[in-house]
Symmetry: C2
Subunit: 213 residues, 2 copies
């Protein structure tokens, strides 16, 4: 169990704060899109980007021309968030309306991966995280592509999760009101895959897509 | 048309950059969860939070005890992001894999709303944005609740959107490969509402929930 320092301690509704790595990994593994904040020219900048998790590290990939990648590779402080919204919580009072969600916030610094083999391994981690098995099916990156791609590793050191589940919680007196209360659950559903318009005839939907969930 | 300054100009894949307000509003209106970045004690902090849009302003609400609200009400620089992921783009090459998404990044400063009537109006904007019609159904905030709630307004001044749609785009030579390529579309679906376990008998599902989309 890591030390919970002031930076990551969940401040609002602290009972919703979670600090164990297993719970944090579970949330990180449900998503592949995060937002990253960093300071550039004195102002906070926020950018959404794809990520992959492997063990206790997150991996980012991007163009070597990307402002975010060029800034983060210097090892400056960053903050990263993953949020999954699971529903709307409708209470009897406007005040107690809420959302059900799972969210991770982490603070850290990126480490620039320069070694060619490590870069390929990191790319595979990102690919496996997003869609398992696709890496093996796709045409592997060539030298030119690898040269144009930057890989960053962010160790998960200072992280916390915040989760809200369940139905509404109203003030005692409000339970007598004639107001409907409950939950509207959301789900992200996967629709049928759409083959590329110019896909060559006879190529079947691969396992990575068939097994995607 | 606003001036596109360097801060908001989409730098990577600039053809995906969108700067007209109508397109930006359309994306903001599809979501209600954003992430906000600000600088606190010298480090970038990122926090997910609910928002509402009315005309050219975004509204945030939160507890007066919230660190984020207390920090933002001082009018410091902030960056805000809304991202909607619409699918995975599977190319023949690992390098050209991508995601379809709609994303808005804005820079600005929050204005603290202190007037009681303006606060109530701002709360209604947030409520209407998240679930139209619910505000009128719910028990309105009392003085104690209003006192515990902080409202912030963020004018949408420096904003840009970035959107990717459509199928994969591969290198010419790769179209001859025997590799499946295409799209896995995602959708956020709304499931059947779940009434509160202790809901009084005879209270029907209200219009706000019936009409929710």
């Amino acid at each position: 169990m890591q030390k919970i320092d002031d930076k990551i301690r969940v401040k609002r509704v602290p009972k919703r704060g979670i600090y164990d790595k297993k719970s944090i990994y579970q949330i990180l593994d449900k998503e592949f899109m995060c937002t990253i904040a960093f300071i550039h020219a004195g102002i906070p900048v926020i950018i959404p980007t794809l990520y992959g998790r492997h063990e206790n590290d997150l991996y980012l990939h991007g163009s070597t021309a990307s402002r975010m990648m060029k800034t983060l590779k210097e090892g400056i402080e960053l903050s990263l968030n993953v949020t999954i919204v699971n529903g709307l919580v409708l209470a009897r009072s406007a005040f107690h309306h809420s959302a059900n969600y799972e969210s991770v916030v982490l603070f850290g610094k990126a480490i620039w991966i320069e070694d060619q083999e490590e870069k390929i391994q990191a790319l595979k981690y990102v690919s496996d995280h997003i869609i398992k098995g696709r890496w093996e099916e796709a045409r592997q990156p060539n030298d030119k592509e690898l040269k144009a791609t930057m890989l960053l590793k962010i160790p998960i050191e200072e992280a916390s999760a915040k989760v809200r589940t369940g139905g509404p919680s109203d003030d005692k007196a409000d339970y007598d009101l004639d107001i409907w209360a409950g939950l509207i659950p959301f789900k992200r559903t996967i629709e049928a895959p759409i083959p590329d318009e110019v896909l060559r005839a006879g190529i079947e939907v691969p396992d990575s897509v068939k097994n995607y969930s």
